[in-house]
């Protein structure tokens, strides 16, 4: 009986860390916002769809860190320092069409409900429907993720950063861009289009 107990305890001890390993997938991270599950991209085609997991961010750092054409270096910032604790950057901009409006409205409601249930609202601008939410790690001392939801009618900007985002540096970066701090969908899409990212063909 004693032997059986020891065996069971040992089995549990050995299985526990491997079980934890199985949970380390990015999509299982509490700070991962399930955008792709909520928004059907066949119905609502995004104008901007940025999806940068860690390995692609590392790729960027290895190619450009402080080199020519590095926009971060131009404002005195270090990209590797900025993204070192970030696991994913996800930004999606969708302008609704007649076909996608009701789907997007439902998606926005679902995302907002998820965010309000588990995340901490840190910025809320009701007149512009801007909501920014943060999630801390289990220690409560470090950021585990940030989520952004801007909804204007059926149009939507949704962002998700998984990991520790250095807010002070991000604010400095945004201030260095200049211009008004407005959420003009055309302007956002235009900026991404200028960088060859936005898919203007799919715009309504």
């Amino acid at each position: 009986m004693k032997k059986l107990k020891i065996t069971v305890v040992l089995a549990l001890i050995l299985a526990a860390p491997l079980g934890a390993l199985a949970q380390t997938k990015l999509t299982d991270d509490p700070a991962y916002l399930k955008i792709d599950e909520v928004i059907d991209l066949q119905i609502a085609k995004p104008q901007v769809n940025v999806n940068l997991p860690k390995f692609l961010l590392n790729n960027v750092v290895s190619e450009f860190d402080g080199g020519d054409g590095d926009p971060f270096a131009q404002v005195g910032m270090n990209i590797s320092d900025l993204i070192k604790d970030i696991k994913l950057i996800r930004v999606m901009v969708i302008e609704s069409s007649d076909e996608s409006r009701s789907h997007l409205e439902k998606a926005i409601a679902t995302l907002r409900k998820d965010l309000e249930r588990s995340w901490l609202p840190i910025v809320n601008v009701p007149e512009d429907n801007v909501g920014i939410y943060a999630l801390s790690d289990s220690s409560g001392e470090q950021m585990a993720g940030l989520a952004l939801l801007v909804a204007d009618g059926g149009d939507i900007v949704v962002g998700n950063v998984v990991g520790n985002l250095p807010i002070g540096k991000i604010l400095k970066l945004a201030a260095s861009m200049g211009g008004e701090n407005q959420f003009d969908f055309e302007e956002i899409i235009g900026k991404f289009a200028g960088a060859g990212i936005s898919d203007k063909k799919e715009k309504k």
Partner: protein, 129 residues
């Protein structure tokens, strides 16, 4: 000869294993039993770990899998860099807008009543003095 053999046999019968040797044998036997307990533990642990791994990889919880890098198949490093820059900048802009909005609300909606209240209190005190 026979007598010698009988004597020797008698002596052998009377001989006992030294206490030290008995203790050592007991100690080693107990150690080997203890080590033996690990083996089924390791086998069970490995089986459980395989089960957990298999369950998470072969039968994922959701039928809708987020396509993490679909949009970035064979990406140009320059484009990735711009994506990173613009994405982080817009998140920063949203934060700035939020702080501006907060400042505006404080300046336009919270401060005037406070200021009015302060002036009224000051006037009341002055009149009563």
């Amino acid at each position: 000869m026979d007598q010698d053999l009988e004597r020797l046999l008698e002596e052998k019968r009377q001989q006992r294993c030294p206490v030290e040797v008995i203790r050592r044998v007991n100690r080693e036997r107990s150690l080997s039993r203890r080590h033996g307990a690990w083996r089924p533990g390791i086998v069970l642990g490995s089986a459980a770990a395989l089960l957990v791994w298999g369950a998470s990889h072969l039968w994922p919880p959701s039928s809708h899998h987020p396509q993490l890098v679909k949009e970035n198949v064979d990406p140009e490093p320059e484009v990735l860099l711009q994506e990173t820059y613009l994405s982080l900048s817009f998140i920063g802009k949203a934060l700035l807008k939020g702080s501006e909005s907060g400042r505006r609300i404080i300046a336009n909606e919270a401060l005037p009543p406070l200021k009015r209240g302060f002036e009224e209190t000051k006037e009341t005190i002055r009149r009563n003095l």
